[in-house]
Structure formats: C-alpha cells, structure tokens
C-alpha cells in the first residue's frame, strides 16, 4: 500500500472536540502498525507491555477506531467472550482453565472483521496481543489493553 501523502489526509474532525491534534495524523495512520510492532517486540509475553505505553497507544487508537466508525456492537461477541474469561479467571485463579478459550478469541475477531471493515484494525491489534498471552498476567494485560482502547473509543463519542 502506497504511503498516502500529507495533502490527501484531511480527515474532517468529527466534532469540535479535536482530541487528535493535526500533527498526529500520520501517526494515527500508523497506530495499528506501531502497536503491533510493539507487541511483537515484547521480550516476555504481553505482561511486559509497559502500562504507560499501553495507555498512550490506546489513547491514539481509541479515537482512530471511532474515525473508522467502529461500533462496539460489531465486536460484541468478542467483548463478551473476553469478559467471560476475565470473570472465569477471577473465580478460579487458574490460567490453564481458560488457555484454550483465549486462542479461540481470534476467530471471533476474524469473523467480525470479515463482516465489517471497521472492525479490522481492532482485530489486527488484538490478534497480535492474543498471540502473546501465555499466562494469567499476560491475559490481565490483554484485558487492560482492550478496556483502555474501548474507554478512549467511547470518550470520543464511540458507541
């Protein structure tokens, strides 16, 4: 895919709140790549994803998803599944019990992405993250990432 030139990227702001400064437009375009690259480069599973970086990434990625017109009902099944696993883990405290189900989260995302183009970026990011989930701590970080992204998405007016 050719790199878009600056003049072409004039995404009109969706509302007056402009929480994405114009100077970050390029960055916004690359945010998926940046997160994926970061996650792939983690030394020891998702748990080593520094919280500060995670939040900073989510802060950019959430509004980007809003721009892409993602609505959470499009990925409802995925979100519900994550919440279920989270509750499970709290109850049992054993990662082994949810390990296989974590892997099964990926098809849910692929399905959503296939139906709705807007769900694709979230799918890419979360797939990369799921690949790095090998322990309870990794899974907890996955939840933190997802919750942060959704919170910023909603803060932008996303539904």
């Amino acid at each position: 895919m050719p790199e878009p030139t600056k003049s072409k990227v004039t995404i009109p702001p969706l509302n007056s709140r402009q929480s994405i400064p114009q100077t970050n437009v390029n960055k916004t375009q690359n945010i998926v790549e940046e997160i994926v690259k970061t996650i792939n480069g983690l030394p020891d599973g998702l748990k080593t994803y520094p919280i500060r970086d995670l939040v900073k990434h989510a802060e950019e990625f959430g509004p980007y998803l809003k721009q892409q017109r993602l609505e959470t009902n499009q990925v409802r099944k995925f979100l519900d599944a994550v919440n279920r696993l989270k509750a499970n883990l709290v109850e049992t405290g054993e990662f082994a019990k949810i390990k296989t189900e974590v892997v099964l989260l990926k098809p849910k995302l692929a399905y959503a992405a296939a139906r709705q183009k807007a769900a694709k970026p979230l799918g890419e990011v979360m797939s990369a993250a799921i690949d790095e989930v090998h322990s309870k701590e990794d899974f907890e970080r996955l939840v933190q990432l997802l919750e942060s992204i959704i919170a910023y998405h909603k803060a932008e007016g996303g539904k």
């Binding site: 919280i51 500060r52 995670l54 939040v55 802060e59 933190q144 919170a151 910023y152 909603k154 932008e156």
Partner: protein, 787 residues
C-alpha cells in the same frame, strides 16, 4: 517577705530601664523621671549588683536604641547539609507595630527593612502611651505588670541589641535573671524549672456524650487554669515575680529561678501537693511532671542553654512521667469502691446517688459526676470571659462562675483553697484578689485598674460561634451541623507544628540563647492562641491578601475554595503549637487550609517550619471521643507522609497537593523522572478541580454521575495498587498509579456537559497522569458539598 521585694525590685528595675529605652527613643517626658526612679534603687546594693550582672550577661546596652526586628523564624534551620543550609537563607523583617487591644491582626513579616515612616508612627504611639503614665505618686511607673504589658504591646516588633531579639524578650529575660540573682547573689548558677501537665489528651478526649463539645472546651479551659495555678504556687513559694515565667500555657511551664537548695525543695513539695490533688480530683488521669536543673549562669547566652532546656524536658521530666504518682503512692494504691460509672468521663468512684443529670433541661439526659456536670454547665457560658480573678475568698456577687482548687494538705504543705472567679466584663471589684488574668486583652487602661493587685494577660485560643438559638451561649453541635454546606456533618481538625522539639533544640544553631528561646515560644503560642482567634472571627482582615506583598512571602498566591467567612467553628483547644477545632465540616476544611497558609507566611515561609493536620468528618451522633480519635489518627498519617501534610477524607497528601500549589519538591525525584516526558498540567492537585466544578454549577445529575465514576475509578485504582504495597516504585506500580486508569477518566469526562468540556484546562488537566493520585479526594469533596 523581704526577699520577694528584692527579686521583684530587681525585675522592676530592669523593666523600668527597658521602658526608659522607649522613653528616650520617643523623647517622652518620662525619661528623666525614670532615670531618677532607677537611680533611687541604687541604695540597695543587692539589687544594683543583680541588675548590673544580668545586664552584663545579656549584653544589655542602656544607651542602645530600638531598631528593626529581623524575623526570628528566619534563623531556624534544621538542614544538616552545610551547602543546602546556606541555600535556606531568608531575610524578613517585622513590621514595627503595636499589638491591638483586642483581636490583633496576624503580623506577617516584610520582605524589606521597614521604612523610617513605620518607626515614626510607632514612636508617636509609644510616646502618647508613656506620657500618660506620668502621675504624682509614680504608681504606674512602679507597677511591674503594667510596665511589662506595655513592653509586650509596644516592644514585640522592634529589636534591642541583637537584630532578631525583640525588646520584650531581652527585657523579660534580663529581668528574670536579675530577679533570680537578687535572691542568690553569690551563685554562679541558675535553675530552670520545667513542668508538664500530662494526660491532658486523655482528660479531654475520653468523653462520650451529648453536649460533649462544650464540656470538652470547658475542660481544656480548666486545665489552662491548672497550669496557671501551678505557676502561681511556684512563684509564691519561690518569691519570684512574673517576669521569671519564660513560658506557661497548654500544660507546659518554664520558670527561671535561683540555684538554691530551697528551690528544689519547693519544686518537689508543689509537685507532691498538686499530684495529690490531681489524684483525688481526676483518678490519676492527669499528672504533673515538675523538675528543675541547675546550669552555669553564663550559659544563658550560649547554645548550651538549649541543651539544658532539652535535657530537662526530654530526660528529667520523662523520668517523672514514667513513674507517675511515685510520691503519692499510698493514696494512689488506696482501694476505693466502684459504682456505676459517670457516663461522660467513665470514672467509677462516685457513689451512684451522687451522679446527676448532665443536662437539666433534657428529661432523659445521661447521669454524670459532679465535675462533668460542672464542665457541661461552664462550657455553655464560656463564650465571653473578659477577666478571671484569683482570690482566697470564695463568695461574692457578679461572677458568673468560680473554679475552685482545694489543694489537700501534705506532709510539707498546708491545705489551701484557691478560687478563680470568672466574669463576662473586665471591670470587677473582688475582695482579697491577688491576680487578675485579663483574657486576650492588650488594653493598657485595664492594667492600670487599681482594684487589681496584679494583672497579667491570659492568652487563650478560645474562639466560638455564638448560638443563634440560645443567645449568649456557645453554638451546639446540632445547630452547627445544620449550617454545613452539603452533608450535615461536623469536622474535627487536629494540627500541630512539625519537629517542634528539634526546632527548639537544634533550630537556632549557635544562637540558642534564653531571649531567643523565649521569643520563639512567645511567637509560636501567639499564633495558636491569639492570631487563630482573629483569623476565625475576622478572616477578611487576617487572611493573606492575594494582591499584597504577603503573597510573595509565600512565593505563591493564597488558595481557598470560597472567600466567605468560616466562623461556624468551636475551638476546643488551641495553644502552644497545636489545636483541636470543631465546626461545620466544610468550614473546618477551609479553615485548615487558611491556617496552614497563614502560618507559613507568618513564619516567613521557612521550609523547616511546617504543620501537619488531620480532619475527621462525622455525624453529630457519632461519639465525640471516637471523632477525636479519628482526627488524631488522621494527624498521625499526615506525620507519616513526611510531615507538612494533611489527612482528609482518609487521603494523605502534602498541603501543596491539596491546595494545588506548584511545588517541585512534592513529587519525589524517581516519580519526577518517570513522568518527565509529560507536560505539567495547568491544574495540579485537588482544590483547583473542586473549585472549577463548584463554579461551573453542572447540575445535580451530572455531578452525581461524575462523582460516582470518579469514585469507582479511584476504587479500582486502589485495589490494583494493593499488590504493589512492597514495591511502590516499580515500573508496574508507577504505570498502574499514574496511567492505567486514565482511559476511564477520559470516558468519565466525556460524559460531562459541554460547558465543562469547553474548559480545556480542566479537561486536559484531569487526564494528566500527574493528577492520577487525587481522584478519590476530589470526588469525595465534591460529593460531600453536594449531598
């Protein structure tokens, strides 16, 4: 009795000389007259020698002139590191001024040396006052307590001799030394007597009943008089004038005395008699530690003086406290029957039939012992006391109450009854009076009143709001609660000066001399007893003015949520270096912030002189002793947070974090490093956010939702942080504290109405990691204001 005259004469002569210094300086017609009076004393060799020696010791220069007074607090330095020490150099001056007759204003220091005009005005006022003293029989000029009061009123903000020693402090110190020497001319030693009435906290804080607030206040007042009575007994026994009292108040006393055997014996006898009395009166809840220490006379002007001071207070008195009532052991061990306890103080040695209804106007009031009933009754009436007269006579009219000390006979001392009569108006004719204590009064005319044998000012931190339901009485807890903003609760504030012991023992470096130590305790207790009253009653005149130079002393502007009065307060205790104040919760919170900022400015913004405080907020039904306990624990938490902190809403932060005052020191260097890439938000801390939201008037529903979300976020954050208790500085812990919950805040913010979101400063600041620790404090404050 001859000796009394000797000591008092010596003191009088020194004080007269100090007055002469003022007379010469202001060119008052008194100057020649005073010279004659002083010269007349020359006939008595002992006095002449004592005065001369005292003056020599303290470098008193009779030809000297009063000059500008440097702020003594500037000299306090607790920094050990020499390099840092030199960075902490401050330069402030006192405004040459007079202490007003009533409610004197807080004297904030100046950044520049006072101008000639400032002195001219003061000189004019002094001359006016001195010229009035000129009578035929020289009665006023021989009235030691009157002259001392004049020195205090006019000589507290000018120096004499060393530039940071006030005229009043050098005069009183010299008079004290001269008086001690006159009693013991040949000695090379002096004695310092120190007393500590311990158990005050226990006494005040164990009460648990309705109407407790007033009783509590009465009890703290009562104990102030007990301290006073110990001083009186000592001065009488040792035949010393009042000038020898270096400090007395709040259960502490320091007296300068001659180093003679009889002093030690008298100290021991007074101690024994008082403890015998305390034991009978309060079942051993209170104990008087009293002792003395000889030291070489020449050390009063060296740094060693502070060593003796500390040795006496922290070692010798501590020994007494560790073996309480050792001298009264037979009485202490005496068995007594136990009965149904008093519902207020829980004492159980009073026969059930003697317990009476605490509040006679309420049919189902609890049963309490006689003392507690007395205190309850007294508490209501303590709104206005102008004079307290000590007398040996029990009965006469016009007084509204009398406090009696019936000291029991001991092996060495006879039984003695002393009465303190309380009056609403100062002008009273009392038979057999020996001392009139004029409460917070600097009106010279009152001290000239010939019916008082001796009169001294009694400083009391005693502000209280008057009840609008019961005129002339102090406001009751439930009336106060109704006046609170938001939730109808009361606040309890406890606060004290950080490192006070070190400030006295080390703070002055090589200058730990008698006059400076005396000056330091005088200025500290003035703040807590006198200026706090003024601040509560006349906030407008006493709080830091944003536009004035005063703000520069603080190096930042003054902060507060509302500029309104905060006078729905009741001081339970204020004095020495600490306070316990109740009031409507919102006013107590704001008052605490006011006190802190005023105190820092008053002490020249010295980084080593700070306060820590704790506030608890409770329903009026909540037992008072529990509330007192909670605020005490809160204060401890504040101390545990590296001091200079406030604990409020169960949250502990540095004052500057609460106030939202930019201060690089409040964020420690590791965290600073961690957050370095972030720009500092415009609003930082707690108060600024509460202020903005209160101004915006966002509507009940918005506010409720916002507060709820903020509280939920705070809760999740606190829970997430629990596992990092052992390692608060790890990358994980820092990320969790400062970043992890920002997405939720962003989401919560997006739900606020548009006009709030248009406030970019507010919006971006709350999302900044710098403010991440403050969510709960901000939310709780807003919640209580709007509930």
């Amino acid at each position: 009795m001859k000796q009394l005259r000797v000591a008092e004469k010596a003191a009088l002569q020194v004080i007269q000389e100090a007055i002469r210094v003022l007379a010469v300086w202001t060119n008052s017609k008194l100057k020649e007259k005073l010279s004659r009076l002083i010269a007349a004393g020359d006939n008595d060799d002992v006095i002449k020698k004592a005065v001369a020696q005292a003056q020599k010791l303290l470098s008193w220069n009779s030809k000297g002139e009063p000059k500008a007074l440097r702020l003594l607090f500037d000299s306090i330095n607790l920094e050990k590191d020499k390099e840092k020490k030199s960075q902490n150099q401050h330069q402030h001056y006192c405004q040459p001024d007079v202490i007003a007759e009533r409610n004197p204003k807080i004297p904030y220091p100046l950044e520049k040396e006072p101008s000639l005009e400032d002195f001219i005005k003061l000189k004019y006022e002094i001359k006016q006052e001195l010229d009035k003293l000129d009578d035929d029989r020289d009665r006023d000029l021989n009235n030691l307590s009157l002259l001392t009061l004049i020195l205090e009123k006019y000589g507290s903000f000018i120096s004499f001799g060393d530039s940071d020693v006030a005229l009043i402090d050098i005069a009183r110190s010299t008079a004290g030394v001269a008086a001690a020497l006159a009693n013991n001319p040949e000695s090379n030693n002096l004695t310092l007597i120190a007393g500590d009435l311990s158990g005050i906290q226990k006494f005040i804080y164990t009460i648990s009943s309705d109407g407790a607030l007033k009783s509590l206040r009465a009890r703290s007042f009562y104990l102030e008089l007990v301290t006073e009575e110990v001083v009186q007994q000592l001065l009488e026994a040792l035949e010393l004038p009042r000038t020898n009292v270096i400090y007395a108040g709040g259960g502490n006393l320091y007296i300068l005395a001659p180093a003679i055997e009889s002093v030690k014996i008298n100290v021991a006898e007074v101690r024994q008699q008082f403890n015998e009395w305390l034991l009978g009166e309060f079942q051993g809840k209170n104990f008087l530690a009293l002792d003395c220490l000889d030291f070489p006379i020449t050390d009063i002007t060296t740094e060693k003086f502070a060593d003796y001071w500390s040795e006496l207070t922290s070692k010798k008195l501590a020994v007494h406290k560790s073996r309480k009532f050792a001298e009264n052991i037979s009485k202490f061990l005496q068995e007594s029957d136990s009965y149904e306890p008093c519902k207020v103080c829980h004492r159980d040695d009073v026969e059930s039939a003697e317990l009476k209804q605490l509040n006679k106007n309420e049919p189902d009031s609890v049963l309490a012992c006689e003392t507690c009933c007395r205190m309850f009754e007294l508490g209501g009436q303590l709104l206005k006391v102008e004079v307290i007269v000590r007398s040996q006579s029990e009965n006469f009219e016009d007084k509204f109450d009398t406090l009696t000390f019936e000291l029991p006979a001991t092996d060495k001392r006879d039984a003695k009854n002393v009465y303190y009569h309380l009056f609403h108006r100062w002008k009273q004719i009392v038979p057999d009076n020996d001392t009139a204590l004029l409460v917070n009064d600097w009106n010279i005319e009152h001290y000239k009143f010939s019916q008082f044998k001796k009169s001294f000012p009694l400083l009391l931190g005693n502000y209280a709001q008057e009840s609008s339901e019961e005129k002339g009485l102090i406001i009751r807890a439930n009336e106060m609660a109704k006046k609170a903003k938001g939730v109808n609760r009361l606040g309890y504030l406890r606060m004290d000066v950080d490192n006070l012991g070190r400030i006295f023992a080390e703070g002055l470096g090589e200058n730990k001399t008698l006059p400076r130590i005396a000056g330091l305790s005088r200025q500290m207790s003035y703040f807590f007893k006198v200026y706090l009253n003024s601040l509560a009653e006349f906030r407008q005149e006493n709080f830091l003015n944003k536009n004035k130079l005063i703000a520069d002393i603080l190096h930042k502007k003054a902060e507060f949520l509302t500029p309104k009065k905060r006078d729905n307060l009741l001081f339970i205790y204020a004095g020495g270096d600490d306070l316990f104040v109740s009031g409507t919760w919102n006013e107590v919170v704001e008052f605490a912030f006011d006190i802190y900022q005023c105190f820092r400015a008053y002490t020249g913004n010295n980084p080593d002189i700070t306060l820590s405080g704790g506030i608890s907020i409770n329903d009026i039904k909540f037992p008072l002793y529990k509330a007192a306990e909670e605020s005490g624990e809160a204060e401890e938490k504040a101390k545990g947070n590296g001091k200079d902190s406030l604990s409020l809403f169960s949250q502990v932060f540095k004052w500057n974090e609460w106030l939202g005052i930019e201060d690089n020191k409040i964020i420690d260097s590791e965290i600073q490093k961690y957050l370095h890439s972030e720009t500092r938000p415009k609003l930082l801390g707690i108060l600024p956010f509460v202020e903005r939201l209160e101004q915006q008037d966002i509507g009940v529903n918005y506010s409720r939702n916002f507060v709820r979300n903020l509280l939920i976020t705070a809760e999740i954050q606190e829970k997430a942080l629990e596992k990092f208790e052992d390692n608060k500085k790890s990358e994980e812990a820092l990320g969790t504290r400062y970043y992890l919950h920002l997405p939720k805040i962003a989401y919560t913010l997006a739900r606020l109405p548009k006009n709030v979101l248009d406030d970019t400063e507010f919006r971006t600041s709350l999302k900044s990691p710098y403010n991440a620790p403050y969510f709960r404090a901000i939310a709780t404050w807003i919640e209580l204001l709007n509930r």
